[in-house]
């Protein structure tokens, strides 16, 4: 099953480069996404039925790729997100074909990358992310995370113009160099386990954690944290993130924010689990808490005075990555909050990026100041845009609310009042900053532009967003038993 999950998108991706008919290629994308989701659902179902004796993860086994609850959770997010993204992408690509080319901001004409390359990279990107969630070896995990960088770079450069190229270059270089540090970290980890003969296999590391060399393990964690933290978009290593998210097509931004950042977080969680098992939970947790809070602060400060609404969403992703890191760092019940946050943030943010694509189609600009009175021109889009705002900022009932609340409660319970206070203050600041933008864009008035035609709202772009928003809402109101136990098992596997 694990093998099929990785090989299916790999084969489909290779095939997509060869298929010349657009319609056939789009069908291939839809079917692969649906089949991948079906396989994922079967795997999760198998886990829920089989419990601890789940056959795909033999304890002590030396498999390259296998699933434990933590990997399974992130696989579920990735696969669900890709299912929505594939439907969005098909509508989007059809629209781009009819009407290619004029830049929304500077008005120059540009070409798109060939659709075959875009679809092929999209599918290969899914294969790499699936492999990340299944990797049972720290070296292999590194190789797969780096592969996600390389395969998503062509996606950011779909619109071939200067700004997207600049974003792609920064993304490639900063992430490749940053992640090279994580390779150093893996080597340190290997050296720490040399005497104990622990190797770099995750099961072996966890089993032999007591015998690991402590100073080397600390060095390993720091390098892994900085390396994967760069990819995850934690401040101050986040500089590539706003550029890439604002210049990529909306569907790619959604996948980067909702799936890719989580994959990097998984890398950090693997390192954290080893540290916890070796009795360094306080040290590792301290690092995660510090940088988590710093990311929330950074996001809040950059949110104020933001002029581009896709960049604003990108900074909101940095905020949420900060919350995940904070939750993982606090440990205990907060870890559960962080993982629930990963699920609900992915869905809500992907939905918002999908909607931002429809806003861009309606208004032809990414400047916040130029979008006013969206509810007149595109009422459905405006309603979803506003709904997404309520969900992402964590107004109840929303899965995001639940996760923020749990993290906050754990901070208070641990007696860390300054931390809880600072966290709450900057969350309020973020809420205020985003509220201003969303309300101005949705309501407000503006003169009709010259030659502006009435806008037909693209249902293909809005439906996936609406579906994701409904799921986030559902998560806040009702957590199904199987998801609850998966989250608990994953939280136990991520850190102690």
């Amino acid at each position: 099953m694990t093998r099929a999950l990785i090989l299916l998108p790999l084969a489909a991706g290779a095939l997509a480069f060869l298929v010349r008919d657009d319609a056939a290629r789009r069908r291939l994308l839809l079917w692969t996404a649906a089949l991948h989701f079906l396989l994922t659902a079967l795997t999760v179902w198998g886990w829920a039925e089989g419990g601890a004796g789940f056959e795909f993860f033999p304890p002590g086994g030396q498999a390259w790729f296998a699933y434990d609850p933590l990997g399974l959770l992130f696989l579920g997010i990735t696969s669900l997100l890709f299912l929505g993204a594939s439907h969005y992408a098909v509508s989007y690509l059809a629209g781009e074909k009819r009407d290619p080319g004029e830049d929304a901001e500077e008005g120059f004409i540009f070409n798109n990358a060939p659709e075959a390359v875009f679809t092929g990279c999209l599918l290969l990107f899914l294969a790499a992310m699936t492999a990340v969630t299944a990797s049972r070896h720290m070296g292999l995990l590194w190789a797969m995370i780096e592969a996600t960088t390389l395969l998503s770079a062509p996606l950011i450069y779909f619109h071939r113009h200067k700004r997207s190229l600049e974003a792609t270059w920064k993304y490639l270089l900063i992430c490749s160099v940053g992640i090279a540090l994580a390779l150093m970290g893996s080597l340190f980890l290997g050296a720490a386990g040399l005497k104990a003969g622990a190797g770099l296999d995750i099961s072996g590391l966890l089993a032999g954690a007591a015998g690991l060399d402590k100073p080397l393990l600390k060095a390993a964690f720091l390098f892994l944290f900085v390396g994967y933290g760069t990819k995850m978009g934690l401040a101050p290593f986040h500089t590539w993130l706003p550029d890439a998210h604002s210049e990529a097509p909306a569907v790619v931004s959604a996948l980067l924010s909702g799936a890719l950042l989580n994959c990097a977080f998984l890398g950090i969680l693997r390192a954290l689990a080893v540290c916890s098992a070796a009795g360094l939970a306080d040290f590792a947790g301290g690092v995660l808490t510090l940088f988590g809070l710093f990311s929330v602060v950074t996001a809040a400060l950059f949110m104020l005075g933001q002029r581009d609404y896709k960049r604003m969403l990108a900074y909101s992703s940095i905020e949420h990555m900060g919350i995940l890191s904070l939750g993982a760092g606090l440990g205990g019940g907060a870890m559960f909050g962080a993982l629930l946050g990963a699920v609900s943030h992915s869905l809500a943010k992907a939905g918002l990026f999908f909607t931002s694509g429809a806003v861009l189609a309606a208004e032809r600009t990414k400047r916040i100041a130029d979008v006013r009175g969206l509810r007149r021109r595109a009422p459905l889009t405006a309603a979803l845009w506003l709904a997404g705002f309520f969900l992402i900022t964590g107004l109840p009932p929303s899965g995001v609310f639940l996760s923020k609340f749990v993290v906050l409660r754990e901070a208070v319970r641990g007696g860390r009042w300054w931390l809880a206070g600072g966290f709450l203050f900057f969350l309020a600041l973020l809420f205020a900053g985003m509220a201003k933008v969303f309300i101005q864009m949705t309501f407000g008035e503006r003169e009709p532009r010259e030659g502006e035609k009435p806008f037909a709202e693209p249902s293909g772009l809005l439906l996936p967003a609406a579906a994701f928003f409904a799921l986030v809402l559902l998560l806040g109101a009702w957590l199904p038993a199987w998801l609850d136990s998966l989250l608990r098992a994953a939280a136990a596997g991520g850190a102690l």
Partner: protein, 220 residues
Amino acid sequence: MHTLAELVIVFVILLDLALAVTGSLSTCIRLVAAQGVVAGLLPLLAGGHFQPRAALFAGAIVTLKGAVFPWLLLRARDKSGAGRDVEPLITYPASVLLCLGAFIASSWLGSRLPLPATGVAWIVPASLATIFAGFLLITTRTKAITQVLGYLVIENGIYIFGLALFVEQPLMVELAILLDVFVAVFVMGIAIFHISREFDHIDTAELSELSDWRRGEYGR
């Protein structure tokens, strides 16, 4: 038996310094290739007895770093019409001083780290200094090609560091990492080609349209 390996380590350090002073882009590309080749041969020189697996892997590294990468990068240089010079942001003497400083700091750090004894003198300081030289290339040289070279130098440094720590990775993992590096250079090469076409130059210091504070004008 380690004398030969130690000689190679000295050579790696000298190549770092040479990279810091070289002003010619094509020479830089060849220096990085030479460093990759000697780093790839290092396990064979230090290992003692012959192992077919190690020899095979070393062969793959030497082919990739010694032949394929320089060919790709020289092609990218010609196609993108990049000039002959590397155009550093700081002077060459300053680059050398920084490199020497990094080497001294690495020696100190190498003696402080509780690493397993390697038997090959200077291997840890040399690897750390090489990583630093890579960062130096990325931050103080403006062309996109020199940034790729910097990335490769960092990768060489990390590879040597892995040898120094005796961390034996399974062949599949080593190959996956090598494949990543290959694809990275390949994708970056394509990006360089596009940058030269869009911007008529490959000076990354000019890639500054995207930022938070000048957003309103979009750099115009």
